[in-house]
């Protein structure tokens, strides 16, 4: 299997969307400070707490989604490679027994 095919299976189009969500989470977390609706050193307002919390949730969930998906995809690739090796070994053994 080529490296491009492996990468396509490890990182499908939906994973790019999850990366986009991670960046959205980063923006949500920093938006109260970037838009100056929360002055530094002051007690956090309700909107700041809401945005920072939701941004954190978005970052954690999207990162977890990406990592868990890649883990499962990697496990599938390894299983397929093992099955292929096993099939090749069986074919070689059958050919050797047919020759002898």
């Amino acid at each position: 299997m080529r490296a491009g095919e492996v990468m396509r299976r490890l990182v499908p189009p939906a994973s790019y969307v999850l990366v986009l969500f991670f960046l959205t989470g980063v923006w949500l977390t920093m938006s109260p400070f970037a838009m100056q609706t929360q002055s530094s050193g002051q007690r956090w307002t309700t909107s700041t707490i809401n945005n920072v919390t939701l941004g954190g949730i978005l970052m954690v969930v999207s990162l977890l989604g990406i990592v868990v998906y890649m883990g499962f995809a990697l496990r599938d690739l390894m299983r397929e490679a093992q099955a292929k090796q096993l099939a090749e070994q069986t074919a070689r053994a059958e050919a050797a027994s047919a020759n002898s």
Partner: protein, 156 residues
Amino acid sequence: MSVTRPSLGKYICGMVASLAIFLAGGWLILAPFALGYQSYGADWVSQTTNDFVVGICVAVVALIAFALFFFSLLGSLRAAGVIAARSRSQAVAALAATPSHAAAAPVATSNQSDLDRTLATLAQALAADLSARRQTGGDLQTNPLTEQNITNRRDA
């Protein structure tokens, strides 16, 4: 022959993540009004506009991601033959409902495909046996030649 086992965990994980993010987007849209930092009827403050726009984008893209993971799951099930098996069972149920004359042709087609599969397996086994015999014959032909070479060298 290797059997492909579909692993559904990765798709389900992606679908769950997309669904959670969709809910987060929905909450982002509602939050300015639910938490009271945007009063009804007044002009929207910048934080409300930001939350609303980001919330709508997040919800829409999360739905798209959910659909992508769902269709990947369907593709995996189709590759594993689960969806085809289901459609075959539906076809069998449909055949049971139709009259026997109309059902005769699809049943014959199914039997024909089974026969084709069996014949293909038989042909593969015969080809493997034939190639093995050819290899064995080639070895027998080459062995006397090598023995003759050895005796010639000894004579020399």
